[in-house]
Amino acid sequence: MRWNWIDRILRHDPGDRLDAMKVVSLSEDHLHEHFANAPCMPSSLMIEGMAQTAGILVGAISNFERRVILAKIARAEFNADAFPGDQIRYSATLERMADAGASTKGTVEIRRADAQEFKPAGHVDLFFSHLDGDRAPDDLPDGNFVFSDNFKILLDGFADNPEC
């Protein structure tokens, strides 16, 4: 199962800010159960979208050498839903960074399928732990299982291939 909840990285100021975009599509399975006759993106998955956005921001600081684990949702507030055809923009900024972990603040904005402008839709503040060294359990799998190649491709940008 694919677990990518952002489609593009729009902006990356290393160690400071990362913006990402998600396009909501009716072909996504979860929309057919949430809800059957009124599909909308679950807020929990928007939190995951922000976690991936902010997680890449934090992970990139160590060039993805460290395992960055979502440890705590410090704040999650939403005042709008996202529907098929909408775009969601996640903007994460680094609040604090330490050896043990990092905290981020984030804003969520939504652009309706028929609108020009993004509008504020919520705030998600997160806390990440560095799961390595003395903080890593003995039975963790080898390597960095947090950041798949998909995330690195997202950060590097898609190849500009006219034959695609």
């Binding site: 410090a74 330490a98 972990g101 806390f127 003395d134």
Partner: protein, 129 residues
Amino acid sequence: MTRDDIMEKVVEVLEDALGADPEDIVPAASLTADLDAESIDFLDIVFKLEQTFGFKVAQGELFPENLTDNEEWVQGDDITEAGMAMLQAKLPHVDLAPVIETKKVSKLAGIVTVDSIVNFVERKLAAAG
């Protein structure tokens, strides 16, 4: 800043970091046993203390990390003499009486109280002048 002023801000920090009810954040309340703080919450509390009071907290300054991994300090469930000396030197803000009495690691779990945090902030602010 008076101790009451510090307490007021510490309550705000703990309310925000732990989602605790302000009425439960009393000086004797243990962060882990009474306010349900988990290990990651201590880092959150440190970040918020730094933001609120404008000082920096070194790693392990509020509470020593990886204590039980050090055989010089801990053997089984017993804290060694060297471990007790380290705790007394590094944790002047914490009431170590329950640990001094038993010298058991298990007694360390709930030892950091709201009062410990207020003591810690008071000492940091005094040191900064």
